[in-house]
């Protein structure tokens, strides 16, 4: 399960993660977010040694949503050694996500 991180943990767990971190900014009532849950879980299983998967609930972590200019949910940010290497909004296919991960590992 992707770990839910709060504003206070974000710097250490995501920015400070050595390697690739995938963060989903989500909201509870968002349909495409629900659809992406099993996809994220599958990615986490497959790349467990190589990626860190985190979720940020925009209803509670408003400052983070502001900081990263989140305009809709879900929005996915890919951090490599603390820097953003990719971002997109909306549901995507598992193999597209795998491609992004593979090219940034």
């Amino acid at each position: 399960m992707a770990e839910r991180v709060t504003n206070s943990e974000f710097r250490e767990k995501v920015i400070g993660h050595p390697g690739l971190a995938v963060v989903e900014f989500y909201s509870d009532s968002c349909v495409p977010c629900k659809r992406m849950s099993p996809v994220l879980a599958a990615l986490e299983d497959r790349y467990q040694e190589n990626i860190y998967v985190a979720k940020v609930n925009v209803a509670y972590e408003n400052e983070l949503a502001e900081e990263y200019n989140i305009g809709s949910t879900p929005t996915f940010l890919f951090f490599r050694n603390g820097g953003i290497v990719e971002r997109f909004s909306g549901a995507r296919k598992r193999d597209e996500l795998e491609q992004i991960i593979e090219s940034n590992l």
């Binding site: 659809r35 305009g71 549901a91």
Partner: protein, 302 residues
Amino acid sequence: MRDLLIIGSGPAGMSAFIYAKRANLDVLVAEKEFLGTGQIAESLQVDNYIGLVGKSGYELGEAFRQDAEKFGAEFYEGKALKITQKNAFWVTEFDNGESVESKAVIYAAGASHKRLHIPGEDKFLGNGVSFCALCDGALYQNKTVAVVGGGDTALDDALYLSDIAAKVYLIHRRTEFRGAQKNILKVKKKTNIETVLAVNVTGINGDSRIEAITLDNGNKITVDGVFIAIGMAPQTDVLGDIVEIDDYGYVIADETGITKAPGLFAAGDVRTKKLRQVITAASDGANAAISAIEYLKSSECI
């Protein structure tokens, strides 16, 4: 070549798939949205589908899809752009540049949110312009938003957002709201909802973020987000003139789904009918599948 291409993975498409598959047709289901289940997914709760009252719309949509998957449904990701008849079969072109050939087509692409078609709408879509208050409302804590529309969805959105945002402008082009009276009364009681009537929004302005909207009375309102709730429109543009379309964009077809074009059937929200609900969409899918099966048999395609 497939026996049948079903365009749409909502209740009509999924129901059509099960009937067609049980008749041993070789069926492909095309969907424009990855893992889509149609508009039902956005319904908080379904209160009028017998046997399933109280289920969430999302769960119901997933259940339809999972049932189709049990029958081996094969999905194709792509938005249909053009459908043409070539000799005795159909060619459907998709936005990925590919095309699919089939002996028959069931068109069940449903309806989508109506757009304002004003400057700034496309630019800020997904970044300040939203069709889903429940999804994106949380991003506007203590901010100012506009809701555009006058029906129950617009009223519900304004009420929902008024508990999150500091201020909600509810903007409607007519002098009275169309929604239920109880919703209108609730809106009137909310001190942070300001209704703006008899005006049209003519533009959404801003640099990297929305800063304001302009109205056709010359006024400008400073907002951080815009929620559009002006209804749904059938997705029938791609059919061109191969079928008959009424003044509102619906394919003219009765409950058999049979259209002017032999071998192309319409099901669900895209066709002319009185009641557009999940239950009638599922029923349409079944009927259209039977029509397609009969068509394929009679034309000895299978």
